[in-house]
């Protein structure tokens, strides 16, 4: 249920960033969300839509890149994907000692802007 809080934090960030580009229209905001970040896609879409409806952000698109869980082997440095339900084991050397390097993302990556036409 904290997707409303997350959507609201995304919009606050968009508003702050947009101020740095006066006159430009923000078309989309790109976020990265890891599968370990405890965020539900439908709930986030719903919250985002509810918070932007009938506001200046009603046409803003939310573009989500879902990031899989990834580990890096502590023995041989191999990086590899791990299913949520699997014990992380290195596919190269078999070591079970690894560190998580992906899957916990909750980042705002970019804004898509449409610049106002420059007057000549």
């Amino acid at each position: 249920m904290h997707e409303v809080g997350i959507a609201s934090s995304i919009l606050e960030c968009v508003a702050a960033e947009a101020q740095r580009h006066p006159g430009a229209q923000v078309l989309a905001v790109g976020v990265r969300i890891g599968e370990l970040a405890a965020v539900d896609k439908d709930a986030l879409d719903f919250a985002f839509e509810a918070l932007t409806r009938d506001t200046e952000w009603q046409h803003l698109k939310l573009q989500v890149e879902w990031c899989p869980r990834r580990h890096k082997c502590l023995a041989c440095s191999q990086e590899f994907p791990v299913a949520i339900l699997d014990l992380p084991a290195c596919p190269k050397c078999g070591s079970e000692h690894s560190t998580c390097i992906g899957g916990t993302e909750l980042d705002i990556a970019y804004l898509e802007l449409e610049e106002a036409c420059a007057k000549s």
Binding site: S9, L87, L106, D107, A109, Y110, L111, E112
Partner: protein
Amino acid sequence: MREIVEKKVLSENDRLAAELRGRFREQNILCVNLISSPGSGKTALLEKTLASFAPTQTVAVLTGDVQTDNDARRLSGYGFPVRQIVTGGTCHLDARMIDRHLAEMGFRGPGLLLVENVGNLVCPSSYDLGEAAKVVLLSVTEGEDKPLKYPGIFHRASLMIVTKTDLLPYLDFNPALALDNARKVHPEIEHIALSSRTGDGVDQWLRWLDALQHKYQQASAAINS
């Protein structure tokens, strides 16, 4: 045109949590954030924990709930400052709530700050409170697959406590399977099984807490000197 932003979604909470973490370090306050489903026994374990402390120890508790101050009332009889955070609908505690309530409470270190989060295995895992460690509780009535269903919190917790072990004779719960599942999500997670009702295993938790506090205070002394 694409404008690269590269910011954490919860950057405002993260910023405040980092500030709290710095302040805790400076004042030598070990902050531990207890997280579990509703009814897994966070308050019962805190009651046992507070009862074990000498009155001379510097300890404070912040306890979060959507409504009521029932938990604060349960925990207030042990001689330590306890404060209820009523979130009024919010399903987790955030750094701002901790900051505000600590200021109102006037708690100063060195000491131990125990935070009982709102009962919820999902949302509290996203909000950093500036704690030194997250502890996740899993009661034996909940099923061994909780770590797989809620990987976020088991991934972030330093310690998993299996609670209500006095009920094991009446259940099919397999503690070894629960631990295997937790290790799939977080291979290094530490593990304790206990019953707050009988007191079985509570010593182990108190020793874990004591060891962490010792380690934290040594590190703080080194950093602050």
